[in-house]
Symmetry: C2
């Protein structure tokens, strides 16, 4: 089920998820609020994953995590500015629309909660999401196409490698794509650049860059919906927070235990709004 | 002229440079002290360059800069922990062995000081250097080959693109290379990983990775000396702080004004030692 556009706060979105009433992508919900990608790992991999994010901040901007001093606690996110303390029922295992569950790099299930999969050894990481800057693009008259035609932003696996970190040696960038006219690219870059914790400005644009990224066919996104590209437009690519879960798939059975991620497009909506976030950065 | 191995502090190295008595690479000088790559830009590009570093922390780890509140002041580095206040004659224009001077992306001169090129509009940036971890490798019996056979570490331009930032859209990674036996790679990775502000662990290793990086011939480094690779060894590649000056060359006449960099291998030796640096990080 999809939420209506009157769902305007992070708490409202999370409560709908918690009750199993919202199972669809979260783009354009709770406008102005920061959304996050999710990766839940066995604690043995937590340190390497932090290093991976630090070495690849464009596709993997780390916003926060469950408390490392309370491994297995699904109710506490740090920094605590991300989820209001008044949300006493917050639970990372229920508060997203849908979850992907991996074992040995294989997707074994997609569920609306992961209460049975979460263990006392799990740590959850939140990664910035480009949905956070889509409102700013729309406000400037550069509305993302998937807001106009409906559906989910298209996402593509690329051949551009991540900087390795510890056990994570085999990942490549995943990118999201929004089509724009070439003459609008500099404005699109300018608008999205300040969103540093949410992938920032595009990493590439145009058909030559697309080929360099190893993307062959825009009509075959690995996640999300087939895009509508109009005459005179070129593809513009941003780092994407699906990168970590794609890395888990590529790592295969090197990663032991259950790994959980959001279903691409189905984010955790936070309580912090963009204005507060930038104030905090400054 | 080369300094002797008795040159053991950053200040001693800088004074020799300042007097024009040291004009050779700084690898293995002032052991345990952090060394830095240099890029000096017109102030108009300072903000974009900071973003470039933030988006590419592995090849471009930003350690510090001249004071942005005092543009054109060549005597003050921030954070002030990098250069001791007691070095009252510190001058970024004289304190490295040699400098490369660029105009419109072209190398127009190499000099032992840049007093005449520096203007009241220049800002200097310091980028971490992999020399900082070579002592740790040597201490573990994994001595870098160029310490053994003499000369400078080989450096290669690659085809791996930087994440663009503002005006800087055309850069690719430069890497340094040290040969190791394949069975030593995991230990080499483990030792260098903690040096996060100095490129950290390798980004790639082995001949397949080499081809993926677009490196065709190890005997033709773009900077530094031809390596000696022994039987059973593979090339191991780290991000390299020559990346920013190579980016300037690739940007061509898009960058206006005089740009200055260190001559590759000829670093600024800082007063902070590795132990203090890691204490500061923790």
């Amino acid at each position: 089920m999809a939420a209506s556009s009157s769902t305007s706060t992070g708490l409202e979105v999370r409560i709908l998820c918690r009750r199993g009433l919202l199972t669809s992508p979260t783009a354009s919900l709770a406008p102005g609020h920061i959304q996050a990608n999710l990766l839940i790992l066995p604690s043995a991999y937590a340190s390497d994953f932090r290093s991976l994010c630090a070495r690849n901040p464009v596709p993997c901007p780390l916003l926060g995590s469950t408390a490392l001093s309370k491994i297995g606690d699904a109710s506490c996110i740090q920094p605590d500015s991300l989820i209001n303390a008044s949300d006493v029922d917050f639970d990372i295992r229920t508060d997203l629309p849908q979850y992907n569950i991996y074992e040995s790099g294989k997707l074994i299930a997609t569920k609306i909660d992961v209460k049975h999969e979460w263990t006392s050894d799990h740590v959850a990481f939140l990664i910035g999401c480009s949905y956070s800057f889509e409102g700013a693009l729309a406000a400037a008259g550069l509305t993302p196409r998937h807001w106009v035609v409906g559906g989910n932003v298209p996402m593509y696996r690329t051949t551009r490698r991540l900087n390795p970190a510890g056990i994570f040696t085999s990942g490549t960038y995943v990118v999201s794509m929004r089509p724009y006219r070439e003459e609008d690219v500099s404005e699109v870059r300018r608008i999205t650049a300040p969103y540093k914790g949410m992938h920032g400005e595009p990493i590439a644009w145009g058909y030559q860059d697309m080929r360099e990224l190893g993307i062959v066919d825009l009509d075959k996104p690995h996640w999300g919906d087939v895009p509508e590209i109009r005459e005179g437009e070129i593809p513009v690519f941003w780092g994407c927070g699906v990168t970590p879960q794609d890395m888990i798939m590529q790592a295969g059975d090197k990663i032991k235990g259950i790994v959980i991620a959001h279903k691409p497009g189905c984010m955790l909506v936070l309580d912090v709004n963009e204005a507060d976030y930038f104030k905090g950065e400054g």
